[in-house]
Assembly symmetry: C2
Homo-oligomer: 395 residues x 2
Amino acid sequence: MQLAEFGATPAGGVNRPALSEVDRRARRQFVQWCEALGCVVRADAIGNLFARFAGEDDHAPAVMMGSHLDSQPTGGKFDGAYGVMAGLEVLRTLHANGVRPPCPLELVVWTNEEGSRFAPSMMGSLVYTSQLPLETALSTQDIDGISVAAELRNGAGCDAQASVERPAAYFEAHIEQGPVLEAERKTIGAVTGAQGQCWFQLKLHGRAAHAGTTPMAMRADALVAASAIVIALDRIGREHPPGCATSGRLVVNPNSPNVVPESVFMTAELRHPDDAARGRMEASFRQAVNEVSNERGVRIEVDKVLEQPAAPFSPVCIRIVHESAAARGYPNRAIISGAAHDAVAMSRIVPTGMIFVPCAGGVSHNEKESATPEDLAAGCQVLCDSVLSHGRGVN
Amino acid sequence: MQLAEFGATPAGGVNRPALSEVDRRARRQFVQWCEALGCVVRADAIGNLFARFAGEDDHAPAVMMGSHLDSQPTGGKFDGAYGVMAGLEVLRTLHANGVRPPCPLELVVWTNEEGSRFAPSMMGSLVYTSQLPLETALSTQDIDGISVAAELRNGAGCDAQASVERPAAYFEAHIEQGPVLEAERKTIGAVTGAQGQCWFQLKLHGRAAHAGTTPMAMRADALVAASAIVIALDRIGREHPPGCATSGRLVVNPNSPNVVPESVFMTAELRHPDDAARGRMEASFRQAVNEVSNERGVRIEVDKVLEQPAAPFSPVCIRIVHESAAARGYPNRAIISGAAHDAVAMSRIVPTGMIFVPCAGGVSHNEKESATPEDLAAGCQVLCDSVLSHGRGVN
């Protein structure tokens, strides 16, 4: 709740764009909290923050946990922030009880997970796992032309610089962001992996004209073409359950009531647990774009800015999460993640597990996002037990 | 060309939003030019500027001419500005030759004709003709919440205040903004009237949700609903030739790639020379909105912000324009105006005529807007002969 004051919105949500001033202030608060526990905090070149909590064998590979602090423009208090705060709660509990974990723990804040200010999402974890070139990430600009590099020159929240070596495992706690756990009255979801997804940016080039004097047949209306693509995406999503297809951003130029729109910028994304099915969705999408372009006389550029195959998580980590929940008596189930997370990026290079807790109505990316203190505490407990289990080498 | 330096864009067009600082500077330039001819310039309560050029019988009702100086965001040099400059050229010619017109001439700059910053369009002439309450116009806000009244407190370009009485007639010169005159190699169009139009603002209220975890069947996507309305508008326009139907502005909230859009603001406009046909277009439009709302589970508010019936111009003024063109040997034809103009507002209360000249490719509301010096000069000549003819009482 204290963290949610950074970027608090009147409607009870959070607006904390990645690397904005309010995000920087939240990061500095995080660093202060960690340093109070004796952690050493460092930032890497993309601004990911790592707080190191010493272990009994401090030369053993660390177990890492964490999530992100940036939010959607009209986001909630829990998406991302919960995973960081759950990790902090684990460290505070160990510190308060004078317990040294068997190996060092690294609590990480990943930079720009949401992707709503700077595309793509999961920028920090993709750079850390060498799936996105650092230079590409640094040169990315927001809608106002401000680059990631420029914002990082204003500070990442921590002055110490280091590159942090690959951990033995990674665990992330997160609200489910879907309705399943709540509907089935389960407290813990042991995440088995994430569905694949790809993101596109489209530029549609029509012809501006006076809306009162240009006969319909002589128009090349970029917004009519974009609308046909939005409708096609919705159809493609419905034709490929349980896949999803969405256009979330659309900007019209010149955006004047009585001018036939000259150009449109829009995004499109496709998700499916099965990569082959997602491939069929992409083929349908590209066919629809071509048909719209020909029919409407509007030139359309399609740029694929992100492709994430479906990501199965580590069987060892999944089992540890299940067993940790069961040992505490929490109702639990296996679950697939519909959303992308930094854990998906991490799962490509280290054994990875995720712990879901229910959120009210399955609502997320929304100021109304909510979760109960009891469920959130259960998630912290399972996170704590899981990182200690893995550190002890129960596998 | 000098006037086009106020708000000049790199692509050779003009961006001169109504009552912006750059519009105010253009207005002050206009006032200086008129005062150099001995005109008395006054502003009325909505910021319309009137430059009075004395006549032989200075107590006779004036003949008025003019147009507007505000532009579209990516507009051209000629839309509006030409009609004001043509009127100035008439006054300069009379002044240079020591000619007094039979009655006073009033050269008018109407405030906010375009409607792209403050809706509705033709604000100044609608207020002057008592078709829009002054208070409504003054309280209108732009997209940043700045009101017309607030901008007028920064000055309208002229300190003298007056309400200017209804003239005997009104003439406006304008580029055609369509392809007919150029295609038929006519120099002058004697405008017989304007097609009717109505403007709508729509607010669509869906439900924000995570684009990766919200099943397609559980969504209320405001952008999908808006897109269906854009497509329906395009269909309705094509089904009612020579009518036009356009959505020129659409704004998505929160406009983030991986959030199902919560709400959309959009505009819609319908135009047709036949009011009954436009009524059928509106019925189809409203039916489509209801169907989309029911099908997509998105609540839709429809607000009609402007309705202008088709406006036939004065037979006397039409004849004067024809005869003035013919007397100078300019090829001419009768033509209907697809666009709205301040002359349409004026035609409701005084005998009104318009003089069209060709524009390159029929392109307007576009930075590429262009017209030849010869055609523009012919329009000035016909405007001059028309206002003198009317003043002499040839009718």
